[in-house]
């Protein structure tokens, strides 16, 4: 292990390390702690500049109540779910199939197609913006959740295919071979052998895609206009315009917007990190 395990160090060093870690953590989280503390306060504290001291009044419930009753925050949250969950299902389903095809069959153009999916992942969104917006207009899906979901599914398929293909590639190929010799059809191999084995990959992709899509802001502004279909990121931005200097409300809103991906992360942490660090450890 590197650096040298702290247990082997002198007691003084060990002690100071144990003190230093929580201090570093608090410093690191200052921006987020500030938001949490501000969501507790009333407007009085903010105009008085009392940001880090003891709140003069506890307004947590009032602030959240304010956010939910005076703004369409509920609708924004609901829209975010309506966008995120279908995208997650769609992109993961498509990429189970593409990943399987690219990982377990030899055919001409296999690598080329794979690299196309990989490359598509890294392009700037702006090169897609005008044609995608135009296409969405033409099929009558502009300013609808469906229109946004269709695009997200297509784009995320790139990343998911990269992930799935490499995951399936690392499975023992003998299993597939053996099933073929037993006369199993290719569909049966996919359904009964490969799918159960890639469950961890499916879980990892689901959390990742959930977080990516929940946090998307760009496409929500390009393909959505009205509040009826707006996800929480774009919604928060539009509310920010109304809440000038009402930082206690901005903070409460920001917390609400962040809760679902944060919960998802803490519940599915292992899968999330496994997905994100794919390739970071392979020689």
């Amino acid at each position: 292990m590197f650096p040298t395990p702290i247990e082997k160090a002198a007691p003084a060093t060990r002690f100071s390390y144990k003190i230093a870690v929580p201090i570093a953590l608090v410093i690191w989280l200052i921006p987020l702690l500030g938001v949490m503390m501000t969501a507790l306060r009333g407007p009085g504290d903010i105009t008085a500049g009392n940001l880090w001291g003891i709140p003069s009044e506890l307004m947590l419930a009032t602030n959240f109540n304010d956010v939910f009753t005076n703004t369409p925050m509920w609708d924004f949250i609901l829209n975010s779910f309506k966008i995120t969950i279908p995208t997650m299902i769609g992109a993961v389903a498509l990429s189970c199939m593409t990943g399987f095809a690219l990982a377990s069959y030899e055919f001409k153009g296999n690598l080329l197609l794979f690299f196309m999916f990989v490359a598509g992942n890294f392009i700037p969104f702006q090169i897609l913006m005008i044609p995608v917006r135009d296409l969405t207009f033409q099929v009558g899906l502009y300013d609808t959740i469906t229109g946004l979901v269709l695009f997200h599914v297509a784009f995320q398929t790139g990343f998911c295919t990269l992930f799935m293909r490499n995951f399936i590639r690392a499975l023992p190929f003998e299993l597939i071979e053996a099933a073929r010799i037993d006369g199993a059809s290719e569909f049966k191999i996919f359904w009964q052998i490969v799918l159960p084995l890639i469950r961890p990959a499916i879980a990892a992709l689901c959390v990742l895609i959930f977080t990516f899509i929940w946090n998307d802001y760009f496409w929500a502004t390009v393909l959505i206009q009205g509040q009826h279909a707006m996800p929480v990121t774009a919604g928060l931005k539009s509310l920010n315009g109304q809440w000038i200097a009402a930082y206690h409300l901005v903070s409460a809103g920001a917390i609400v917007a962040a809760i679902p991906p944060v919960l998802m992360f803490f519940i599915m942490q292992r899968h999330f990190i496994a997905g994100l660090t794919l390739g970071a450890s392979k020689g």
Binding site: V35, G49, F107, Y217
Partner: protein, 310 residues
């Protein structure tokens, strides 16, 4: 009548054997088809469409007029284009700090004290939150009157300094906010990397008398190469893609001083400044060309690894 519609047993055998013979060639394409169609329609084809649109003058509604390379010629004289390009360079350089800083935090946290797992995930926390939300948080932080750093500024006598309204420093203010989640991302990549370093090699190095810095430089860092590679790639892509933070924090202002190509393109094509689809596409095409350098490098490396049979 129905018996004429059902195939004779003989035909059936032939069909099934045809399917059997070709099953392995056809199946991959059946599995690929849905994903491939989606991806082509929404990602691959639009790239070429954008390139084509960049040769037109088009407001998105009335018929487009072909103008050749006039949009690119105009760009060459556009002050804002150079500002945006220069800001992209600043983003690229400053954003790279996320890699060593992420490594430093990873080294700091790579211990096994009580509660370290929770601490690691709390350090990673900023990455999970939307950039739009991080942008809002930092906008407020920088606010000169009610912001979090206002008391600090007062202490050093710079009261009322609005970073985001300062032409010279606004971009750095945004980059600083952008670094926050990016450092967390690099940290997690390195923590995974450190976790997978072979203990034998470290021991061997220690036996040879390597310690501290030389052990790190000669034995640890080379083994962290895959993590470094990915950290560098995602950081470059992140820097060139920066859009959300700018849209939230400054909208490219003051006076276009925080614009980057991604936001400049959006502003030209979709904002109240006008619907110049052709001009916007030309900017997007240039941004794409810049990113293509990195994409090609990445794909080349993957190709090399594939050929090596990894």
């Amino acid at each position: 009548m129905s018996h004429t519609l059902t195939p004779s047993p003989r035909q059936e055998i032939r069909r099934s054997s045809w399917w059997k013979r070709h099953q392995q060639q056809i199946t991959p394409w059946l599995f690929l088809a849905p994903g491939l169609i989606f991806f082509t329609v929404y990602v691959i084809y639009p790239i070429f469409q954008s390139m084509a649109i960049s040769l037109y003058e088009w407001d998105g509604l009335s018929p487009a007029t072909y103008i050749g390379f006039a949009n690119y010629v105009e760009l060459m004289d556009d002050e804002e284009f150079y500002t945006s390009l220069w800001n992209n360079v600043r983003w690229l350089i400053c954003f790279m700090l996320a890699v060593p800083l992420g490594l430093a935090i990873a080294l700091f946290l790579n211990q096994t004290i009580f509660g370290i797992r929770l601490i690691k995930s709390l350090f990673f926390f900023p990455f999970v939150i939307s950039q739009a939300v991080i942008g809002l948080i930092f906008t407020w932080f920088y606010e000169p009157n009610y912001g979090v750093i206002a008391p600090l500024l007062n202490m050093v006598g710079w009261d009322g300094w609005a970073i985001l309204a300062d032409e010279d420093y606004a971009t750095y203010g945004i980059i600083f906010a952008g670094l926050y989640p990016q450092i967390a991302y690099c940290m997690i990549l390195y923590l995974t990397g450190l976790n997978n370093i072979s203990a034998d090699q470290i021991e061997a190095g220690r036996m040879d008398g390597a310690k501290g810095w030389s052990l790190f430089w000669n034995i640890i860092l080379p083994q962290l190469r895959p993590a470094t590679f990915i950290a560098v790639v995602v950081t470059i892509i992140g820097a060139l893609r920066s859009f959300d933070m700018i849209a939230i924090m400054t909208q490219g202002g003051p006076w276009g001083s925080t614009n980057v190509l991604a936001y400049f393109m959006f502003e030209q094509a979709l904002s109240e400044y006008g619907y110049r689809m052709g001009y916007g596409s030309a900017i997007a095409t240039i941004l794409f060309a810049i990113m293509l350098v990195y994409i090609t490098f990445f794909i080349y490396r993957m190709y090399r690894d594939e050929k090596r049979g990894l």
